[in-house]
């Protein structure tokens, strides 16, 4: 899923400093699963902001709404023109949300309430880790099922570098050296030869470097199935 962290309350209060009436829009997709932008988080953020503004003697009226997803126009359209009744709208979805909202409701200002961080999963309750860099050309199978593009700090295709120590990455003591895991897995499986030789130079054309990407599925575009 797409993982995000809520922005600090200070920053959010600053965004709507001049507003009297705002809307906070959550999303039932990824950000609900990673407990950052679903119904509960919308409620907590709204209450927190109201407390802050009451304390400042400048109360803020906040409406709350949670969409099925903010990355589909059919759901975004459910908000309707009433979004224009507010001074501003905070989106608690990933970075896609505020953009889909902005594209549909051109008169309104939409602010991101979260910092979208990565594609990952929960490794324990409350802890999410990056697993995919969305590079557009998946080669996980070449590395024992572990992606060095997303998980090696230097995206090495021929690791581990000289900074690998006891399975820990040189960049951060909390980060495992994924190359240590790849090598050990391959050695245990007797597949060391998979790691020898020079891998093809990676084409970054399919990654963000090639410009904004688009995925088209003709059969769906035509509406036949």
């Amino acid at each position: 899923m797409i993982v995000a962290d809520r922005k600090p309350i200070e920053e959010l209060l600053g965004m709507v400093e001049d507003c009297k009436k705002i809307l906070v829009v959550g999303c039932k997709g990824c950000v609900t699963v990673c407990n950052v932008g679903g119904l509960k988080e919308v409620e907590v953020l709204a209450a927190t902001m109201k407390i802050a503004r009451k304390k400042a003697g400048n109360p803020l009226e906040i409406a709350e709404h949670v969409l099925e997803r903010q990355c589909d126009r059919e759901y975004v359209s459910q908000l309707g023109e009433e979004v224009n009744d507010y001074d501003a709208v905070l989106s608690m979805a990933c970075g896609v949300g505020p953009q889909f909202l902005s594209e549909m409701y051109k008169e309104q200002s939409f602010f991101p309430a979260v910092n979208t961080t990565f594609f990952g999963g929960a490794t324990q309750h409350g802890v999410w880790e990056e697993r995919c860099a969305g590079c557009g050309t998946c080669g996980i199978h070449m590395f024992g099922g572990l992606c060095p593009i997303a998980r090696c700090a230097k995206s090495l295709l021929h690791g581990p570098c000289g900074g690998s120590s006891n399975g820990i990455c040189e960049v951060n003591k909390e980060t495992e050296c994924i190359w240590d895991s790849i090598v050990k897995k391959k050695m245990e499986a007797g597949q060391l030869e998979d790691l020898l030789g020079v891998k093809n130079f990676k084409s970054w054309k399919t990654a963000r470097d090639g410009g904004p990407r688009r995925s088209i599925r003709e059969e769906l575009v035509q509406g036949n199935i």
């Binding site: 230097k154 995206s155 581990p160 570098c161 120590s165 090598v183 030789g197 020079v198």
Partner: protein
């Protein structure tokens, strides 16, 4: 290894079977050419070539290409270092051509310390290709006369290709294979990470020799003389991939503070003596960090002077 690939001095020295002795010099944190040229004088005539570091530890300095070119002007042979952290493949190929045009004949292909260690941790890291591929790319440019996209290069850069090897990083069992991979990719010579744990290095080299890697490539053992026990402690704690045995720290602490530098040099000299005899070791890479003025003395006492001059 009979036919010369680059004709660099380092290559000639190694090809003639001499025990190589290379040095290192960091470019200034600024454009202070005078100071840099002064540092060169300590190295001149005492080493076969000098590594010009590329934003080492991810701290911004004068570019390694400019530093290398200044070195060429001073009649010293550079080993132009290039890291994958700061340039994409376009910039790399263009800098390789540029360096060659300025008279550079050796280069060292590295991944580069991660930018979080440096003075601009907010920087974007590139890693368009990795060090293994950089080696292969320089080889392709040199031997095939082609860019990565297979277009022809009019005058190919004839570089003597170097790579690094850290025998002390984990997983240890894999290190000889990674070295083999670098040699297969095209490395002509290897400069190892600073060696302090001699026991581990002996074991590593015996594996390397068993695999016959020393016959395919020149391996230069990395040596850094310790200035004092504090430096040893610091490196042990903060420099990634360093293996500094407690006995060495104990040995340095065992003498008075004013004598620690001499003790550090003595240890380095003992290492050089052992490397001269060690099977598979073709030379020493002396990294006297910010201690260039000590190199003449170290070279003299190590018995590696005069350096061979080969036409």
């Amino acid at each position: 290894m009979s036919e010369l690939k680059s004709g660099s001095n380092l290559e000639k020295v190694l090809a003639a079977g001499h025990f190589a002795f290379t040095g290192e010099c960091g470019p200034p944190k600024g454009a202070n050419v005078e100071h840099l040229v002064e540092k060169f004088q300590h190295l001149k005539g005492n080493v076969d070539c000098v590594n010009m570091t590329d934003n080492q530890t991810a701290v911004v300095r004068m570019s390694s290409m400019a530093g290398s070119a200044l070195m060429v002007n001073e009649g010293l042979e550079p080993n132009f270092q290039m890291v994958c952290r700061d340039r994409n493949r376009l910039a790399m190929m263009s800098d390789i051509l540029g360096a060659y045009a300025l008279g550079v004949r050796n280069m060292l292909c590295l991944s580069g310390d991660h930018q979080t260690f440096g003075n601009h941790p907010e920087a974007k890291n590139v890693h368009c290709i990795d060090s293994m591929q950089l080696i292969a790319m320089v080889k392709k440019m040199r031997d095939e006369g082609k860019f990565l996209n297979d277009e022809d290069i009019d005058v190919p850069p004839k570089m003597f290709i170097g790579a690094a090897c850290n025998p002390f990083a984990d997983p240890y069992e894999f290190r000889p294979y990674r070295l083999a991979n670098k040699i297969e990719a095209g490395a002509d010579f290897i400069q190892t990470q600073c060696i302090f744990n001699m026991e581990k290095f002996r074991d590593f080299m015996s594996k390397v020799v068993d695999m016959g890697l020393h016959e395919k490539c020149y391996i230069l053992a990395g040596v850094t003389p310790m200035k004092n026990a504090g430096m040893a402690n610091f490196m042990k704690k903060f420099v990634p991939g360093m293996d500094i045995p407690d006995e060495l720290i104990k040995r340095l602490k065992g003498v008075e503070k004013k004598d620690q530098a001499e003790e550090g040099i003595k240890f380095a000299l003992e290492q050089v003596e052992e490397f001269k005899e060690m099977e598979g070791v073709a030379g020493v890479h002396m990294m006297a960090i910010e201690w260039e003025h000590k190199v003449p003395e170290i070279a003299e006492r190590a018995g590696v002077l005069p350096r061979p001059v080969i036409d």
